[in-house]
């Protein structure tokens, strides 16, 4: 088989990947294409800075129980993630990298990149920001967003809970929900 030998998260987590609960492993185990469907609630920050950043990144509006479709395309060693929340979609591109000798995942939103460390969490994984670049230039730490991201298995579903504040504490977006593979 000449396709990507290992899913991106397996490359990053190593042996820990095999210990993850099945729904988390499935959601992060795409070797080609994965479609997942579910529901999601979204809260948006109301400050002007949160609105501005949300507009720049084309975040979906606040709302409850949005039908959610996640499309993952794994190709050429990277994963293109498209999250569709009730018809409003966000693209990010995930690539493996190393930072200070440790494996990280680089998540790219247009010209802004975040280095994400992936750690173990009860029934799943957590993600935290360990670096940020804009237009290829390093962004000082005091400007990094505060990310609390947990992905876990519950009732045979992949649950996500992603809470992002701006560096000065203003709420940016909080989205949580679940998906199951449609494939």
């Amino acid at each position: 088989m000449t396709l990507t030998a290992q899913p991106l998260f397996q490359q990053t987590l190593g042996r820990l990947f095999h210990l993850l609960p099945r729904p988390v492993k499935d959601q992060h185990g795409a070797l080609d294409i994965l479609l997942s469907r579910g529901r999601c609630d979204i809260e948006r920050g109301l400050s002007w800075s949160a609105r501005l950043v949300g507009w720049l990144f084309k975040f979906p509006p606040a709302g409850r129980d949005f039908p959610t479709l996640v499309t993952v395309i794994a190709e050429r060693g990277r994963e293109i993630w498209h999250r569709d929340f009730g018809g409003r979609g966000i693209f990010t591109v995930l690539e493996p990298a190393r930072k200070n000798g440790a494996p990280v995942i680089v998540e790219r939103f247009g010209v802004v990149c975040f280095d994400l460390a992936v750690g173990e969490a009860p029934d799943g994984i957590s993600l935290s920001v360990v670096g940020m670049r804009a237009l290829g230039l390093a962004v000082p730490r005091w400007l990094w967003p505060r990310l609390r991201a947990v992905e876990r298995a519950e009732a045979q579903r992949f649950h996500f809970d992603i809470d992002i504040d701006l560096s000065w504490g203003a709420k940016l977006i909080h989205y949580r929900g679940w998906v199951v593979p449609a494939t």
Binding site: D32, I33, I73, R76, I80, G89
Partner: protein
């Protein structure tokens, strides 16, 4: 078996208004089959297909009591244009993998299930090709097209668990006047601007549209058509030879060369479709005994492009008709 192939069937066709779909629907109706066309645009469907097929926009509108003998899934947004941005890739995935998933989910919910699912795939499965001849046993290649075909075929194959016979037809470059690659090449070639692309040594694994349609018609009824089957002519050809054959048929010179580098710069990843064609052979179709009507490129192009009256022997045939 011969009787089975002649039986009148009810066939649901997804992607019925596309380049292959419309020819398939015409052929099935000509055979006396009943066709249900699944489409997003019923007006367009009736304009293209006439009033003979039943047209539906939603699978849920089809009564559970309506017996369906086979499903043919040809749905999919065109690969060559527009550029493969992230959004376009998502659309290509949704229009192939997503629609196949929807069909399989719908089939799972039916008590009366068809006998067969004939699902389109593509020779993009094999990725970039060299000179090695590839049959259905060759593994998936690399690149977006291969990734897409792999997921597409996996979705279709999941219908096997529902008791359906699943035939995954890996279509080559389908040649016809109404669409596909040939339609876009014709204006340039007619103006004498036909070109050898890159070094011209890349392979074009092509198939005449009538042969593609006949393969699908056979696959609907013939239990031997199961698993992956390459829908390509037995004689793939290098791009330079294809350009020259097209030039001969149109009586136009082919003297231009289109270097690979600017093509890659303009088309990006899509250039792989033109510059890295694999050499694909229809081993399974030949084993099953499928007889290609147009196995060689030049007769195929003449069949498509030269009016009947202008083909060699036309005068003799005309005199013969007048005298008998």
């Amino acid at each position: 078996m011969a009787r089975k192939l002649l039986e009148r069937r009810t066939v649901l066709v997804a992607g019925a208004t596309g380049f292959i779909g419309r020819a398939l629907v015409r052929r099935l109706i000509e055979r006396g089959d009943r066709v249900i066309a699944l489409t997003r645009d019923p007006v367009k469907a009736h304009m293209i297909l006439g009033t003979a097929p039943i047209v539906t926009t939603r699978l849920s509108d089809l009564p559970a009591s309506l017996p369906i003998d086979a499903v043919v899934n040809l749905a999919g947004a065109p690969m060559i244009a527009p550029p493969w941005t992230k959004e376009r890739k998502r659309q290509l995935v949704e229009s192939r993998v997503g629609i196949t998933r929807m069909l399989v989910d719908w089939l799972a919910g039916r008590s009366q299930r068809p006998e067969a699912l004939v699902n389109a795939s593509a020779i993009g499965w094999y990725g970039a090709g060299g000179d090695e001849a590839l049959d259905e046993n060759a593994p998936a290649g690399q690149g977006f097209a291969a990734v897409l075909c792999r997921a597409w075929e996996r979705e279709a194959a999941s219908a096997t668990a529902l008791g359906l016979r699943v035939c995954r037809l890996r279509l080559g470059l389908v040649l016809g006047r109404e669409g596909g690659m040939l339609k876009s090449l014709l204006p340039g070639h007619r103006l004498g601007l036909g070109a050898v692309i890159g070094d011209g040594r890349q392979w074009l694994s092509w198939i005449h549209r009538d042969d593609a349609v006949e393969l699908i018609v056979r696959a609907i009824a013939d239990p031997l058509f199961s698993g992956a089957i390459n829908a390509t002519a037995p004689a793939p050809i290098r791009q330079a030879d294809f350009a020259r054959a097209l030039g001969r048929v149109l009586h136009r010179p082919v003297w231009l060369r289109l270097p690979a580098a600017p093509l890659r710069a303009v088309l990006g990843e899509r250039a792989s479709l033109l510059l890295e064609g694999p050499r694909v052979l229809p081993r399974r179709a030949l084993e099953i005994g499928f007889a290609f009507r147009c196995p060689e490129i030049e007769p195929a192009l003449r069949d498509l492009l030269v009016p009947e009256a202008h083909r060699p022997g036309a005068t003799v045939r005309l005199l013969d008709d007048l005298l008998t």
